[in-house]
């Protein structure tokens, strides 16, 4: 077997290219975009909301089984953008890790610790040749007892940061530009404002008005810390509020 570095293998496994880049990691980012959906997360004063497109490619598919929004514990949600199979693998491992954490330490795994765990696992895939990086950007949301609402984003390179608002997927950059304008003055959004900012950001960058069945919305609130996916009627209410506002 030919050795890497200069042998063209820097594109096949995660070793350095001559410019000091990791091509496999960069390609993993492209795979996230190739999935064809965009996701948005917004952190308010006392709540966090994530929104993603729900594209059901075939009418014969059971719509309820098409989801990118997963509860990891009762209080932690994970929005996975990218390759569906990789997302499911990540969520399964995250659920296991969070459950073990609760058992070992006696308290619920905080959102930032879970995000760090995901990011550290992703880093291993960028350094060891035998496993490729996952084509998933994960947004972790939860209400922390001490620090309030938290929104973290983890990417295939192993980076993770807390965000006031963020995006992932096809229109990631456009969405971030939109959100930067909205969040520039550090507004303290109420729950309704948080949800509506997230949904209207998605509508704006994709330039279409959604039906309630075409998007998934997940929330955690300080007064109800359980992570939940909004029902179609609730999404409908928010969509109506947005269109009346404009």
């Amino acid at each position: 077997m030919s050795r890497g570095s200069g042998g063209g293998y820097d594109r096949h496994i995660t070793i350095f290219s001559p410019e000091g880049r990791l091509f496999q990691v960069e390609y993993a980012f492209k795979a996230v975009k190739a999935a064809g959906i965009t996701s948005i997360g917004v952190r308010g004063k006392d709540s966090v909301c994530v929104v993603t497109q729900k594209k059901v490619p075939d009418k014969l598919l059971d719509q309820s089984s098409v989801t990118h929004l997963f509860p990891v514990t009762k209080y932690l949600g994970l929005l996975a953008t990218g390759i569906t199979a990789d997302s499911r693998s990540l969520v399964t491992q995250a659920r296991n890790e969070a459950a073990e954490f609760r058992f070992q330490y006696g308290y619920e795994m905080p959102a930032d610790i879970l995000a760090k765990w995901i990011a550290d696992k992703s880093q291993v895939y960028t350094q060891h040749a035998y496993m490729r990086p996952l084509g998933v950007v994960a947004m972790v949301l939860g209400i922390d007892e001490e620090r309030g609402p938290l929104l973290y984003k983890c990417d295939p390179a192993g980076h993770f940061y807390g965000h006031k608002a963020t995006s992932a997927g096809v229109k990631e950059q456009e969405a971030i530009n939109f959100l930067e304008k909205k969040m520039k003055e550090n507004p303290a959004f109420t729950y309704d404002e948080t949800v509506q900012t997230a949904i209207s950001a998605l509508q704006s960058v994709l330039q279409e008005d959604f039906k309630a069945t075409e998007i998934e919305v997940g929330v955690v609130r300080a007064d109800n810390r359980i992570f939940r996916s909004l029902e179609t009627e609730e999404i409908e209410e928010h969509l109506t509020a947005i269109s009346e506002r404009d």
Binding site: F16, P18, G20, A119, T126, Q127, Y130, G162, M183
Partner: protein
């Protein structure tokens, strides 16, 4: 380490005798954000740029300068995720030393063990070198110390050093300004001025981080308020 399919080293000699994967790792370090360190007569200071990708990122959630022990701190230039791995391993090594010898680990020992880990990743099967250079600042019985560790695993003790994008300008500046009898506060001012040299945009307490350790042997990351004070003094 790794699958048996990859039990051969990915870092191998080129015909000219170079280990190119290590060189590429150094290139990755060289495109990272600038960081630097200075050893004063009564302490050590390390500092780094903290430029985040968007104003949407919560800068309080990010801390680039990390403790390894209560009296040893570290900062990096290069790939953040790789840095986290090294911090975790080093912390564990320091704890194991403490448990075995009932004494805090000397700075040189911790640096050597960390460097060994980095070297192993240049020789073991199925892994690539770390894409980070570390600056390790500590104060123990031998006094204040500053070490730089490279992706190859080689390390040196420095009076002052810099790494990352602006390394040559920063080092030139440090060579001019550094004096052996500098005190810690002077060193912090010099560190800020050096960062300012190559800084794109306006320097503030939100886009740099500073860590220091003095004769009290407690490594501390400065709060934004403290950085503001030092920035005002520098003006």
């Amino acid at each position: 380490m790794g699958d048996s399919q990859y039990s051969f080293s990915l870092t191998t000699f080129s015909p000219s005798g170079k280990l190119v994967q290590i060189e590429h790792a150094l290139t990755a370090v060289g495109s990272g954000q600038t960081s630097l360190g200075l050893k004063a007569s009564n302490g050590v200071v390390i500092a780094t740029e903290k430029k985040l990708l968007s104003i949407l990122v919560d800068e309080a959630s990010v801390q680039k300068i990390q403790h390894l022990t209560p009296n040893i701190g570290t900062v990096y230039s290069g790939m953040g995720p790789d840095f986290r791995v090294l911090v975790r391993k080093s912390r564990k090594q320091a704890e194991q030393y403490l448990r075995l010898y009932k004494e805090p680990i000397p700075v040189t020992q911790l640096v050597r063990e960390t460097a060994t880990v980095m070297q192993e990743f240049t020789q073991s099967g199925g892994v690539r070198p770390f894409g980070v250079s570390l600056l390790v600042a500590g104060y123990d019985d031998k006094g204040p110390q500053l070490y730089q560790v490279d992706p190859s695993g080689s390390y040196f003790s420095w009076k002052a050093s810099a790494m990352g994008k602006n390394v040559s300008n920063a080092k030139t500046f440090l060579e001019k300004r550094y004096t052996e009898d500098m005190e810690l506060d002077d060193a912090i001012h010099t560190a800020i001025l050096t960062l300012k040299e190559g800084f794109e945009g306006e320097i503030s307490s939100k886009n740099i981080e500073i860590g220091k350790i003095g004769a009290d042997k407690v490594f501390r990351v400065l709060t934004p308020a403290e950085i503001d004070d030092y920035l005002a003094e520098v003006e």
